[in-house]
Amino acid sequence: MLFFQSLISGILIGGVYALAAMGMSLVFGVMNISNFAHGELMMLGMYMAYYLFTLLNIDPFLSLLIIMPLTFVFGYVIEKTMIDRVMDHPSENQILLTVGFGLIMSNSALLAFTSDPKILTTSYSSSSIALPGGISVSIPMLLSFLVTCILTAALYLFLAKSRTGMALRATSQNREAAQLMGINVSRMSAIAFGTGTLLAASAGAMIAQTYYIDPFAGHIFLLKSFTICVLGGLGSVIGAGIGGIIIGLAEAMSSAYLSSDWKDVLVFILFLAILLLRPQGLFGKKGEQ
């Protein structure tokens, strides 16, 4: 029974990891930039959900309808005003910029919200569904997973069918050729970054009931998202989706059968093993940088 319990919790939390990692992967694919502020963007989503709930009494899942457009615009503006300037610069400059931006975000949050961890408690925060065999499924986690599935399907349809989504894919496959098709690639970068921000913040909002909310809550998710992206193949959005579930499962299984202290160790062992055995990731292409 422990096995099935871990299986279910692993898949549910993995879905949220996947959502955050898909945002990072999209940004990497289109812009060829590793966004080290990704965790802080999740933290932003957590605080937004927290304050929308405590001040305006809006349910965290309902508040996604407010958080998503706001964070998209936020990401779009950040790309246009800051990241666009380093697009043609060496990657060290890009890393310094996104790391610096993340530090500014987390320290601003520290000033504004103090370091006291906040807890978002709704009427259903600790309720769960009991399945036969003593397995329990947390309601907030189940809801996050369902919303993640909807968002993933929406993202997939957007990338596969819409004109802008196709242009994003074209830009990620060959930036120069995309320019020659008349695609405004700097606009595509801003859209990718806005979408990445929206996905990270949504993931943050959805786990706000499960994790403590503090200015540095995003750090651990940055590392996880990065591991998932490498596992799935950097730039592959589908790879990030499947990678997220794998990491969620690995964590749940190691907590169940080893100890919860080991779960992060296992994730990084997995990370190193992938770099050694299949550096291009599960869905990445060989020989790409």
Partner: protein, 231 residues
């Protein structure tokens, strides 16, 4: 149609193009011939706005210097880059759809034209671009360029690395593209074939234009014969 005056360009400290001046007349096939490293591809990249340069490029009386690549495509110049650069994880039809990015309304009509020019692409429409042969990728790249409804189509080394069969198909298609009213600027290492397919030509050497004239005249030029045709 296209008037280039005193164009200088390079990468970093290296100068690749030294005060190039040339003109393209509407309706012609113009080829720029020359060896590897002469600066032919750099010239096309300057025209399509991918690299910065000093000097002036006028297209239908509009100055192009300073415009972004996507605005230049909007003006009617489409550049089919060297090495084809198709989108490897998109199907043939998706690649063509991207070619028509700026004029999706004419997509159907241009698709029929592209398929009539290259029936092979119609057979392969659902295949991923990256899994096709070099020749198929080249005709896909040309067709994708035509989807953008260009007034001026620039082809960079379209016959590079192709089998004789595909080389012939590519040069034959250039004639048909010209007949459909599109002006063609062709850059080639295959000097003989490209000059034969062209109305006029320029010969470039290490960043400068050294010869110009009618295609047939250049083929007879002793310098061209000696340097490029090995006669």
């Amino acid at each position: 149609m296209l008037e280039i005056r005193n164009l200088n360009a390079g990468y970093g400290d290296m100068t690749v193009l030294k005060s190039i001046s040339l003109s393209v007349t509407e309706g012609e096939v113009l080829s720029i011939a020359g060896n590897n490293g002469a600066g032919k591809s750099t010239l096309l990249k300057a025209i399509s706005g991918i690299i910065r340069y000093s000097g002036s490029i006028l297209f239908l009386d509009t100055e192009l210097n300073g415009l972004k690549p996507h605005s230049i495509v909007e003006k009617g110049i489409v550049h089919v880059p060297e090495g084809r650069k198709i989108f490897p994880e998109m199907s043939v039809s998706e690649n063509l759809k991207m070619g028509a990015f700026l004029n999706p309304r004419d997509y159907r009509r241009h698709l029929e034209l592209a398929f009539s020019l290259f029936p092979r692409l119609a057979e392969r429409r659902n295949q991923l671009g990256g899994t096709m042969s070099g020749g198929e990728q080249q005709i896909l790249a040309i067709a994708r360029g035509l989807m953008g409804n260009p007034k001026l189509l620039m082809l960079d080394e379209p016959s590079l690395g192709l089998s004789p069969l595909y080389t012939e198909l590519v040069f034959k298609s250039i004639g048909e593209i010209k007949r459909s009213g599109v002006t063609v600027l062709l850059v080639e290492q295959n000097v003989c074939e490209s000059l034969m397919a062209s109305d006029r030509g320029y010969v470039m050497e290490t960043g400068s234009i050294v010869l110009s004239g009618r295609g047939s005249e250049l083929l007879e030029n002793p310098l061209v014969k000696k340097a490029y045709l090995g006669i």
